[in-house]
């Protein structure tokens, strides 16, 4: 799995590409943990490149959401394809995440939250 990263002025965007399953989710989990340990508080995970996510992958998203509880931080998901959205819906998790259609909206949402 490849993982892209983009730093904007207000947030960090992490963009995994490919399958996020029990094999590859460890890599994503380590990267997210490293960034959060380093002090990142405003995170966008762009799922546009993700073709499949398993329950192991959902767990990584949950860990990130737990660590970035507002108001001291935020996690916004974007770019959910139909497959990824279905998995989130089936697990009953759609209500647990802030979700935006695309990266630009996700960043705007973070900006609105981060600024007092």
């Amino acid at each position: 799995m490849e993982i892209g990263e983009e730093r904007t002025t207000g947030a960090l965007v992490i963009a995994p590409v490919g399958r996020v399953d029990s094999v590859s989710s460890g890599e994503l989990e380590r990267l997210v943990a490293t960034r959060l340990d380093a002090g990142e508080r405003w995170l966008v995970i762009d799922m546009a490149g993700v073709e499949y996510i398993s329950s192991a992958g959902l767990r990584v998203l949950l860990v990130a959401a737990k660590r970035l509880k507002p108001p001291a931080g935020a996690l916004v998901l974007c770019g959910l394809g139909p497959g990824v959205r279905t998995v989130l819906e089936l697990a009953g998790f759609m209500s647990l995440f802030a979700v935006e259609p695309a990266r630009a909206q996700a960043l705007a949402r973070i900006e609105a939250k981060a600024s007092p």
């Binding site: 029990s22 329950s55 192991a56 959902l58 767990r59 990584v60 949950l62 860990v63 737990k66 819906e89 089936l90 697990a91 009953g92 998790f93 209500s95 647990l96």
Partner: protein, 553 residues
């Protein structure tokens, strides 16, 4: 010697020093041992040091993995002297000489200096392959002794040997043949970093034994052997710009290399040695290193196999425990026919089910923990236990599920979660009350052959959020109606052609089960899956629970 000084290197912990006073000391994993070692392969009370008539003895306390003194198993009490090495499972204890100098402690990896450090001008590099291919240069006496040494080494290496004993043997032969003042073996760890694994010194050699990181990099990454003829002749080093080479007269290093790559290096140094090392010595050391590398690789492979075998045994045990948690016999209640099956994909899995009588009602539970393996199995066991403790007597299914969720979400930093479908059937009325927490929908099978999914909202899987109001739904079952609960291992079962079973196949099968018994429904579905999957490996746990309501009792 009434006080014994120990340098303890536990497998799973930081090294420490310990002084044994009094007359005895127990070594073991137990917190009640006198010397507590963090090593999961140790027995709780593994071995004991005992003072008898002024001398210390080591005895094994019937440990599972025995105790070794200088790599010899301790069958009866054996005297212990400074310099001895005690090995318990994968932990080492070096007995130090309290009066003399302490054996050097590995500080970090035993390497120092930057990788950009310059090496002495007099350094000669020779590719390992060239040294191994070349016939021995020099006079025939050198050739004869080289052949004798290699023969000896090869013979010694043919016998079964531990890593420690092998490193000892390599250093033995090197010291006998090349008379260095100090010799060290560095090995790559799992992360590929070089760490000092063995060190030997002539008497009287002092100071922290450190070797140049730059030299180690050259030798191990380029696969070259190196000879530093005389560092003191080199102006820069004579001025002691590098503490690494200061005072070193001569140095010899060879990579431990085989066809699969480089395992580490062996390095020898001499400070006051009369004659510096020569190019002949380089060939000899390289030949020795090559023989040792082959054996080291074998040991690494064997250790990996042994570790895997141990893990397999533990997984088998975990599997037995997990299967024992699932009900095999179902409550003989008037008015229902119920059956279930669970097939883990790996030895242990994260699926679960339960069927439990509660007065005039019966509870059903099917769940699937995120992820696979031992972590999932533990979470499964907790979920199952909570269900048994919480569900009976609960006011509603939604309340029971909400309480289970609160318990599972508390301190759940790894965000494990379990999707469940929980239901309770009132045997007197046929009313089914249920909650879907992120799980596959349950099917209703009507006697006429109609197959539908139970309606209702989907709430989050358990463990994900601490406070959540779970929503229950109700459905009136008619006599002869059946329900089928399952996990996604059923619909995501994959054939050899990578095709998934999917819900249409499941629904079409269920359509044929209008009048079948619960056991027939479960077993028939397993057979369908077997036919579909064929010889392809099972990817996910498969769980099926079927219940038919026979009529108000």
């Amino acid at each position: 010697m009434s006080t014994l000084h120990l340098h303890v290197q536990p497998r799973d912990g930081e090294p420490f020093r310990h002084e044994v006073r009094g007359e005895a000391a127990v070594l073991g994993r137990s917190s009640k041992a006198d010397v507590v070692l963090a090593d999961r392969y140790l027995s709780r009370q593994h071995a004991r040091l005992v003072l008898r008539e002024g001398s210390w003895f080591l005895e094994d306390l019937g440990s599972r993995n025995t105790t070794f003194l200088n790599e010899r198993p301790v069958a009866q009490p054996m005297p212990v002297r400074p310099g001895d090495v005690i090995r318990l499972a994968e932990s080492r204890i070096v007995v130090a000489d309290p009066g003399g100098e302490l054996p050097p402690q590995a500080v970090g990896d035993g390497l120092t200096g930057g990788t950009d450090e310059r090496l002495p001008e007099s350094t000669i590099f020779r590719p390992a392959s060239e040294l191994l291919a070349a016939p021995a240069a020099g006079e025939s006496g050198g050739l004869a002794s080289r052949l004798r040494l290699l023969n000896e080494v090869h013979r010694a290496l043919a016998a079964p040997i531990t890593l420690e004993a092998l490193l000892d043997l390599i250093l033995d032969r090197v010291f006998a043949q090349l008379q260095p003042e100090e010799g060290a073996v560095f090995l790559r760890n799992e992360k590929g970093e070089l760490k000092r694994a063995a060190l030997r010194r002539e008497r009287g050699v002092t100071g922290e034994p450190l070797y140049s990181r730059r030299l180690a990099q050259e030798v191990t990454e380029k696969g070259v052997a190196a000879l530093v003829l005389d560092a003191r002749m080199d102006e820069r080093f004579a001025k002691a710009e590098s503490i690494v080479f200061s005072g070193v007269r001569s140095l010899l290093a060879a990579p431990l290399i085989d066809s699969e790559g480089c395992l580490g290096m062996i390095v020898l140094s001499a400070k006051s040695r009369l004659h510096p090392f020569q190019e002949d010595d380089l060939e000899l050391l390289m030949a020795l290193a090559s023989a040792a590398a082959m054996r080291l690789r074998n040991i690494a492979h064997a250790e990996e196999t042994a570790r895997r075998r141990l893990l397999d045994r533990e997984l088998d045990l975990a599997h037995d425990i997990q299967m024992a948690m699932l009900p095999k016999a179902f409550p003989h209640l008037g008015g229902i026919d119920v059956n279930a099956a669970l097939r883990p994909a790996r030895t242990v899995g994260g699926d679960l089910y339960d069927v439990m009588a509660d007065g005039g009602r019966v509870w059903l539970l099917v769940g699937d923990v995120s992820g696979k393996g031992v972590g999932a199995a533990l979470f499964m066991a907790v979920t199952k236990t909570l269900f048994r403790a919480i569900a009976p007597g609960s006011a509603s299914v939604a309340e029971a599920v909400a309480r289970m969720n609160r318990e599972l979400a508390r301190d759940n930093e790894r965000a494990m979660f379990v999707t469940v479908f929980a239901a309770r059937l009132d045997l007197a009325t046929g009313e089914l009350e249920y909650v879907n927490a992120g799980h596959n929908p349950t099917y209703r099978l009507e006697p006429g052959g109609r197959v539908t999914t139970l309606p209702g909202p989907v709430d989050p899987a358990l463990g994900a959020v601490e406070a959540h109001e779970y929503r229950g739904s109700r459905l009136q079952l008619a006599p002869r109606d059946a329900v089928l609960l399952y996990t996604d291992g059923v619909v995501e079962a994959r054939s050899a052609a990578e095709e998934e079973f999917q819900t249409p196949r499941l629904e079409s099968y269920l359509g044929e089960c209008a009048a079948a018994s619960a056991e027939h429904i479960v077993q028939g579905l397993l057979e369908r899956l077997d036919d579909f999957v064929g010889d392809a490996p099972q990817y996910d746990d498969v769980t099926i629970v079927a219940l038919r309501f026979l009529g108000p009792s």
